[in-house]
């Protein structure tokens, strides 16, 4: 089972008995067959401790468990939807951008300070990620939401990618990111270019960028 993009704003998931999906609450548009939607107290996988972790981290987006057999259509708020298929690596994404993901993926929370210390925290503030971000690991598909269309940029060791922090959606792979600043005296007197902060991603992987600087 995986997600099929019906149009730019809607995905279809086929559910077989025994499989399960997690999706953002209220994001179901329609379904056929016998499917049940259960609100997920822990807002994701894991036990009580991972729930507490997510609550503390502010990554507790309201999720629901989708089980049964049939076809479910997902979409939310008129946002564009992009399906990312993971083959064993880890996707880093904000919890409120998750539209739906397969139950075969392992969900976790990551402290941005563990990636670059204080600069990681500054980076989190600048990108709007906060201090924590959600990780999804394993084999399966994820549908993420973005404002405007999404395009992917490959990251190779020779070619690091610079992304506007507001247009950053998600990334996966072995990627180091750091916030590069180009602050000058012009920014101090309010005559900056508006591009003083950039996210620099280097390593092996892919970064997903939305065609808008509007947050969800």
């Amino acid at each position: 089972m995986s997600f099929r993009e019906i149009n730019s704003k809607m995905v279809e998931a086929r559910l077989a008995p025994g499989q399960r999906l997690f999706s953002q609450r209220g994001a179901m548009l329609a379904y056929t067959g016998e499917v049940s939607f259960t609100p997920n107290l822990q807002s994701g996988q894991g036990g009580v401790m991972s729930m507490l972790g997510r609550r503390v981290a502010g990554e507790a987006a309201p999720l629901m468990t989708v089980e049964g057999s049939g076809t479910v259509l997902f979409g939310h708020g008129g946002h564009h939807v992009h399906v990312i298929t993971l083959t064993g690596d880890t996707l880093y994404v904000e919890a409120d951008r998750l539209l739906a993901f397969e139950g075969s993926l392992r969900q976790g929370t990551m402290f941005l300070g563990s990636q670059g210390g204080v600069m990681g925290l500054v980076r989190g503030q600048a990108t709007g990620q906060g201090l924590f971000t959600t990780t999804l690991q394993g084999h399966g598909a994820v549908a993420v939401m973005a404002h405007g269309g999404v395009f992917e940029l490959p990251i190779t060791p020779q070619r690091p990618v610079h992304v506007d922090p507001q247009a950053y959606v998600a990334h996966h792979g072995e990627v180091r990111n750091k916030l590069s600043t180009a602050l000058g005296w012009r920014d101090m007197v309010g005559r900056g270019s508006g591009e003083a902060f950039q996210l620099e991603l280097s390593g092996h992987g892919t970064v997903y960028v939305q065609a808008s600087e509007e947050k969800l």
Partner: protein
Amino acid sequence: MSGYASAGGPVVFDPVTLPADDNVNPYTFCVELKGSQWFLQKGKMIAYYGSIDFNGIGHGRLDRLVRTSFHSPLHASDWVVAEGSGKMLLADRAFDVNSYDLDQGNLTVRAGNLIAFQPSLALKQSIVPGFLTLIGTGKFVAASNGPVVFMEPPIRVDPQALVGWADCPSPCHHYDHAYLTGVMGGLRAMTGIGGASGEEHQFEFTGAGTVLLQSSETLMAEPSTGAVPSEPGVPGGGAAGPMGSGTGASGVPRLPGQLGDLQRRFGL
């Protein structure tokens, strides 16, 4: 969609190259008038070529038109008639716009989504509040948030994602009974712990037909479909039958999914 596109630049249209009764882009629809008439909702025309008159309906010489193809006289003031010759562009707040052809058919659409229709169609208020039914042969234009997706019943649809339906005689509410009742359901309702999945209530469609979905849960502003006659037996008509409509004996509106008060269950 011809037009002389300069390399990579925007397409420039003139009265000849504008499409006739077709989409200019996903967000704009062009109607060609040749002495004919179209009904449109107020404020949806964005530009026109030629000489086109826009008249409010419901009075004067358009009275006959209202009588033949407009059966919701109580909200006729929300609509205007465009007549003349020329080309007219319709759009609605950058929502996706689509035209639909009916051939001796019927289609019920959310009142806020309908933009314009040909007078060969008859517009009637649906028994379902907030919806309008088009019957007959002709073309109409409707807006939706995101492209419209057509699905076959049986299907259950989130109320906000429903744009309309054709030929399905059985739109009805579906409640997730297992979720709303029982010990856990009661606990959730009392404490709020556990929250709602937001999906305990859908519209269900069965039988032969087509259901139209929009790709997001953002609704159009809902215009009034007009009051319905205040008669017993008319849903939303105000004059309640002996059992009341939606309100219990105490006059408190019932929550969705609530099964009914104890008096009714025990037949008191």
